[in-house]
């Protein structure tokens, strides 16, 4: 009796899990299919012209701005994030008050909605520092936004490096600095890199924090103090104006390809995490 009941339970459970899986795949495929269906017909060479005009809403300037924005924010966030993580794992004593404060702060920061970063960026960088709506204001704001992510993933990667590596290095007479740079950081590199790629994903997909900081000018920026829009902001503007919905979808296709590419790269890198300690 109970065995039969259990069997039925198991069947139901199997159906439920399969159902949930299939449903989420269907939804995902539907969204992708919808974007492709709407967007692909509008992908034309003119969409990639270097100049944006109100007749030809080229996405090329936005694509270039996206790349610049990503590089600038990484350039700021990576050194701060990675070196803070090195400090927390390698230098600070465990149980240190300061370390605890830093941990709580980063955790809090990573839970804040991006619009809040946008408002802060507008008040501080745009207005107070008088950088105006500029790619610099945007990049610094995004750097602050992704800093907790990079710090956390770097910290995890660094603490996953087995202590025996450190001991081995110290045992040969190496100092702390050499041990960190030659042994610990290289061993943690795949994990740190995976975190950076996730951060790139967030930068590429961000709109709220950028609208208030880097503005929405649709041309290639000629200086760090020029306003510029990334692809995501470009899409947001096009759909807001409602005049070039097709081109908006085409932009979505490009963004989709970009994000899928980034995710594939991060999956590839993640596979190699923990490669140390094991064979090969």
């Amino acid at each position: 009796m109970t065995i039969k009941k259990n069997k039925i339970k198991e069947k139901i459970f199997a159906i439920l899990t399969w159902g949930a899986g299939i449903l989420s795949i269907v939804v995902l495929l539907y969204i992708i299919g919808f974007i492709l269906y709407k967007g692909v017909p509008y992908i034309k060479p003119s969409l990639f012209s270097l100049k944006y005009t109100s007749e030809n809403v080229s996405l090329m300037p936005a694509l270039i701005s996206t790349i610049i924005m990503t590089l600038m924010s990484l350039l700021i966030a990576i050194p701060f994030g990675v070196f803070s993580a090195v400090f927390l794992t390698e230098y600070a004593k465990s149980g240190n008050r300061f370390v605890k404060i830093v941990r709580v702060t980063t955790e809090t920061l990573s839970g804040i909605p991006s619009i809040v970063y946008g408002l802060f960026g507008m008040l501080f960088f745009v207005t107070f520092l008088n950088w105006g709506f500029s790619i610099l204001s945007g990049a610094v704001t995004l750097a602050i936004m992704i800093l907790p992510l990079i710090m956390r993933s770097s910290e995890e990667a660094l603490s996953a490096v087995p202590d025996v590596f450190r001991e081995g290095s110290f045992g040969l007479g190496a100092g702390k600095l050499r041990t960190v740079f030659k042994i610990v950081l290289p061993a943690a590199a795949p994990g740190i890199f995976a975190g950076i790629i996730l951060a790139v994903g967030r930068v590429v997909g961000e709109t709220a924090a950028l609208i208030y900081t880097s503005g929405t000018v649709a041309q290639i920026p000629d200086s760090p103090f020029a306003s510029a829009r990334t692809l995501a902001v470009h899409m947001y503007s096009l759909s807001g104006e409602g005049l070039h919905m097709g081109e908006g979808y085409a932009t979505a296709v490009v963004l989709l390809v970009l994000v899928i590419g980034i995710n594939a790269l991060s999956a590839f890198v993640a596979k190699r995490i923990g490669g140390y300690g094991k064979d090969k």
């Binding site: 590596f165 081995g168 290095s169 110290f170 045992g171 040969l172 007479g173 030659k182 490669g275």
Partner: protein, 251 residues
């Protein structure tokens, strides 16, 4: 025969816990000295205080003195980097770095400022030959060291320690994770190395201690209960506790 280490009235604390109590020992040069005793009795602790690896542990402090060829290793002018170059170490589990065989062995010499290509090549080859592993790795020097077998990795760890040209080599249960054949190879290796280096080895294997060591120290709860010539310690122990331990009548 000179002593490499003179340990005098050594007390060691981990926070409030006293892990070593009044240890007095003179360790002979160019001999193999074995540390035996039940788990947790302080063998590794003493071994690691000989090249100040305990410095890395928070809350660890010592009293008393340890001299390496009559130089106080906890003295003010002692350069820890140099000390660890002079007193090399291999651990229980092989801990090769995730890099090539060559870079693993060259890591120590590079740390101490040797940069020349030919000089490094020569050091790497000599160290690998001395650790009796040259023939097994000479065709894969540039490949990752982590692809080697456990026994090979352990001998490579010894080669890595030899590469900085130490005077003393500390080994903490170097064969406990190895099969009998690899263990035999390492024991053989140690018996040839002892002509050039002083060796101190922690082991749980009493046969191993009798096979390879000249002197043996028996530890119990942070104290050295008996320390003498290996043959004597195992055939005519002076202390009742030593006798109980080596005859296996001990917990």
């Amino acid at each position: 025969m000179a002593d490499c280490f003179n340990i005098k009235d050594l007390d060691l604390y981990y926070g409030d816990f006293k892990a070593l109590k009044k240890v007095n020992m003179d360790i002979e040069e160019n001999k193999i000295t074995a540390f035996i005793g039940p788990s947790g009795c302080g063998k590794s602790t003493l071994l690691r205080s000989l090249n100040r690896m305990n410095d890395l542990i928070e809350g660890c402090r010592i009293e008393g003195s340890i001299k390496l060829f009559s130089e106080d290793i906890y003295g003010k002018d002692m350069d820890v980097t140099l000390l660890r170059k002079r007193v090399g170490m291999a651990f229980q589990k092989p801990n090769l770095f995730p890099m090539s065989v060559y870079d693993n062995v060259a890591y120590g010499p590079r740390t101490h400022g040797i940069k020349g290509r030919y000089e490094l090549d020569e050091i790497v080859e000599t160290s690998l030959r001395n650790a009796a592993i040259w023939d097994e790795v000479k065709d894969r020097l540039k490949k990752s060291a982590l692809g080697l077998s456990g026994g090979q990795q352990q001998r490579l760890c010894i080669a890595r320690a030899l590469a900085v040209n130490p005077e003393v080599i500390l080994l903490d249960e170097p064969t406990s994770a190895l099969d009998p054949i690899s263990t035999g190879k390492i024991e053989e290796l140690l018996m040839t190395l002892v002509n050039k280096y002083s060796i101190i080895i922690v082991t749980h294997n009493m046969q191993q201690a009798t096979r390879i060591s000249d002197n043996t120290a028996f530890f119990l709860q942070g104290e050295v209960v008996e320390y003498s010539n290996t043959e004597k310690l195992f055939s005519m122990p002076e202390n009742k506790k030593t006798e109980d331990y080596i005859t296996g009548r001990f917990g």
